[in-house]
């Protein structure tokens, strides 16, 4: 077996994990499965692409590659802007759609359906603006560096893994050590009781959307940097995202990341053993096995 599949799996898994954190947070705090989360990944990637192109046209110096990486300073700057814009988009969708439904105390399943509608509209809007042709952050070719043990990785890939690791640690600290993190966990335990204790549920909900969308944007940029940018990129990740969120245990951030890596590695293994065309079925098999054997996930609690 080719050891390179470990590297491929880790990289795909890091993207899945970052996306799954957003799914698991919206699921545990807003209490519905958000089918529009994949679109935050695609929108994040396209927003970063557009901003980066804009910065590049303002100053050519920003396009000059930084050190060993394939991109110039325009991309990191654009990512900051894109994270803010994607968070804004999530808040906008919440204000227009999910907020009014929540106010009306709609059933969970109406929220799921609304997210399904929003997913289709947002995805097709991307297709309308950017067409379905794949695009790239950079056309530069990168040489993969040998890491020992038969593993190879490009500098971009190593940077993505490092960024994902830092983000997961940061989110974990945010949730466990800060006031807003404690509020989020309180609302996820019991919204009424948290309200009685003086926690502003609306602020918590806003934070959840911004966090989830921001992480999705970064996952999208990684996918764009390492693979390509397409309007369907987020939608195609949706099943692995759900599989990872459920495998990790709904509400658990370390669980989502770990499960993301497991799904990514399983996909890489599946690609090697049965062929790349069956990649999407791997996530489904994982989902089926989790629901059969341990529906509460690795770190979840039984209901």
């Amino acid at each position: 077996m080719n050891p390179q599949l470990i590297m491929d799996g880790l990289i795909a898994g890091a993207m899945i994990g970052l996306g799954a954190i957003g799914i698991t947070l919206t699921y545990s705090i807003l209490r519905f499965a958000n089918f529009a989360h994949g679109e935050m990944i695609s929108w994040g990637a396209y927003l970063a692409l557009a901003t980066s192109g804009l910065l590049g046209s303002l100053s050519g110096a920003l396009l000059k590659p930084i050190g060993p990486f394939s991109f110039g300073w325009s991309l990191p700057l654009a990512v900051l802007a894109a994270v803010a814009l994607t968070a804004g988009l999530a808040l906008l969708v919440d204000a227009l759609l999910f907020g009014p439904l929540r106010k009306r105390r709609s059933a969970v399943i109406i929220m799921v359906m609304a997210s399904f509608g929003a997913s289709l509209a947002l995805r097709s809007l991307l297709e309308f603006i950017f067409t379905s042709k794949p695009v790239y952050f950079s056309k530069a070719l990168q040489i993969a560096l040998p890491l020992g043990g038969g593993l190879r990785a490009t500098p971009d890939q190593l940077l993505s893994l490092a960024v994902a690791a830092i983000l997961v640690v940061a989110i974990h600290i945010l949730l466990t050590r800060t006031a807003i993190g404690r509020s989020m966990r309180a609302v996820s335990e019991n919204q009424q009781l948290a309200g009685v204790a003086g926690i502003d549920a609306r602020k918590v909900i806003r934070t959840v959307w911004m966090l989830g969308a921001g992480l999705a944007c970064i996952a999208g940029v990684m996918a764009g940097l390492l693979v390509q940018i397409r309007p369907y990129m987020g939608f195609d990740l949706l099943l692995p995202l759900f599989a990872a969120a459920i495998l990790g245990g709904i509400g658990s951030v370390p669980g989502a990341m770990l499960a993301g890596l497991i799904v990514g590695l399983a996909e890489a293994l599946g690609v090697q053993l049965i062929g790349a065309e069956w990649r999407a079925a791997v996530a489904f098999m994982i989902l089926v096995f989790v629901l059969l054997l341990r529906p509460q996930g690795l770190f979840g609690r039984a209901e």
Binding site: F32, A33, F35, L97, P100, L101, S106, A107, V108, I109, I110, V112, M113, A114, F116, G117, A118, S119, L120, A121, L122, S124, L125, E127, F128, T131, S132, F235, L238, L239, F242, A243, I246, G275, E277, W278, A280, A281, A283, F284, L287, V288, L291, L292, P295, E303
Partner: protein, 332 residues
């Protein structure tokens, strides 16, 4: 009226009625039971492929082609899809409500993948052709052919409608409703909620499979591209527009939404230059998506809405209760 126009209207209505069958299936799952199926396209595809495999003439380059009669194909499609739905339901219905949604989404993705890649059975990306069409010997006479096909679909929809209306008003249908409205109360009356939900999910799935089969035999050709998430979405839009929980609403919504869809396709073809048509088609999907969200927000009951009292006994005994009965939006 010219012959072409009649033939076209018949064609349009036949197509719309195949969607009406899907809508009726979804109505059993969602409208009556409150089970959310995000994989309608996958279940429709199972029905279409099973029926195609059973009825097409023997094909050298893939498995099957058993050349069985069309009715056997339809029956097989309904049974196979019902079984698949039963398995998915058995796996998820006892868990949280949206796990079913996620699992059905996975089914749709996986079925599409199998249709695309399992070339030795499904014909791969090129799909399966030469699916026998009812009254194929009359294909030389377009008018008679299209009218007879329309007749077949009208009979199928009418039979399903009558059967489903009967089920809806039967004790079984009323238990489903009770579970949807207040599960604890239904449990207290000794009704096994999981089993009733599972039955409804399997019946709805079987109807979707039948819909896939009738559509495949009407068009004569199937390919994986027919069963993308957009199909799921269209069927949902049809049911929500017509009024979920109402079988007549499901049929009305299917004809209406299919009409809007077909008309907008014509408008795009005539209004936009060829190089911009793919973009305009994307915009059309955006509008449908926003439309669905707007209906959920503004008029969740749809055009016809659900009848508040389905029991004949209750309607006869206490006509005054009609106005006092509780609102009908599905509650968790």
């Amino acid at each position: 009226m010219s012959v072409e126009l009649v033939a076209y209207v018949a064609f349009f209505l036949t197509m719309a009625l195949t969607y009406a069958v899907m809508c009726l299936g979804l109505n059993v799952q969602w409208g009556q039971t409150g089970l959310f199926n995000v994989g309608v396209a996958g279940f429709v595809a199972i029905g279409a492929y099973v029926s195609a495999l059973l009825t097409t003439p023997d094909a050298p380059d893939r498995f099957g082609g058993f050349g069985l009669p069309i009715l056997v194909g339809w029956l097989g499609a309904a049974l196979a899809t019902g079984l698949a739905s039963f398995l998915v339901g058995w796996l998820t219905i006892r868990l949280r409500a949206d796990y079913l949604a996620i699992a059905t989404f996975g089914v749709a993705v996986t079925v599409q993948l199998v249709a695309l890649n399992l070339q030795s059975i499904t014909g791969g990306p090129f799909g399966i052709g030469f699916i026998p069409r009812p009254f194929a010997n009359l294909a030389g006479d377009p008018l008679a052919f299209s009218l007879l096909n329309l007749g077949v679909l009208i009979v199928v929809v009418a039979l399903l409608y009558l059967a489903l209306e009967h089920l809806l008003r039967s004790p079984w249908g009323r238990v489903l409703r009770a579970i949807r409205e207040d599960e604890t109360a239904a449990l207290a009356l000794g009704k096994n909620a999981t089993r009733f939900r599972l039955q409804a999910f399997a019946i709805g799935g079987a109807i979707m499979g039948l819909a896939g089969a009738t559509q495949a035999h009407f068009v004569g050709f199937i390919a994986p591209d027919n069963y993308v998430p957009l199909l799921t979405f269209q069927v949902w839009a049809m049911l929500i527009v017509g009024g979920s929980g109402n079988n007549r609403g499901a049929i009305l919504g299917a004809i209406l939404v299919w009409g809007i869809w077909a008309a907008s396709a014509g408008a795009i073809a005539s209004l936009f230059p060829p190089d911009q048509q793919a973009r305009a088609a994307a915009l059309r999907i955006v509008l449908i998506g926003i439309g669905l969200c707007a209906i959920l927000l503004l008029r969740p009951r749809g055009i016809l809405g659900e009848e508040r009292i389905v029991s004949r006994h209750l309607a006869r005994l206490k006509p005054a209760r009609r106005t006092a009965s509780n609102p009908t939006s599905p509650e968790p």
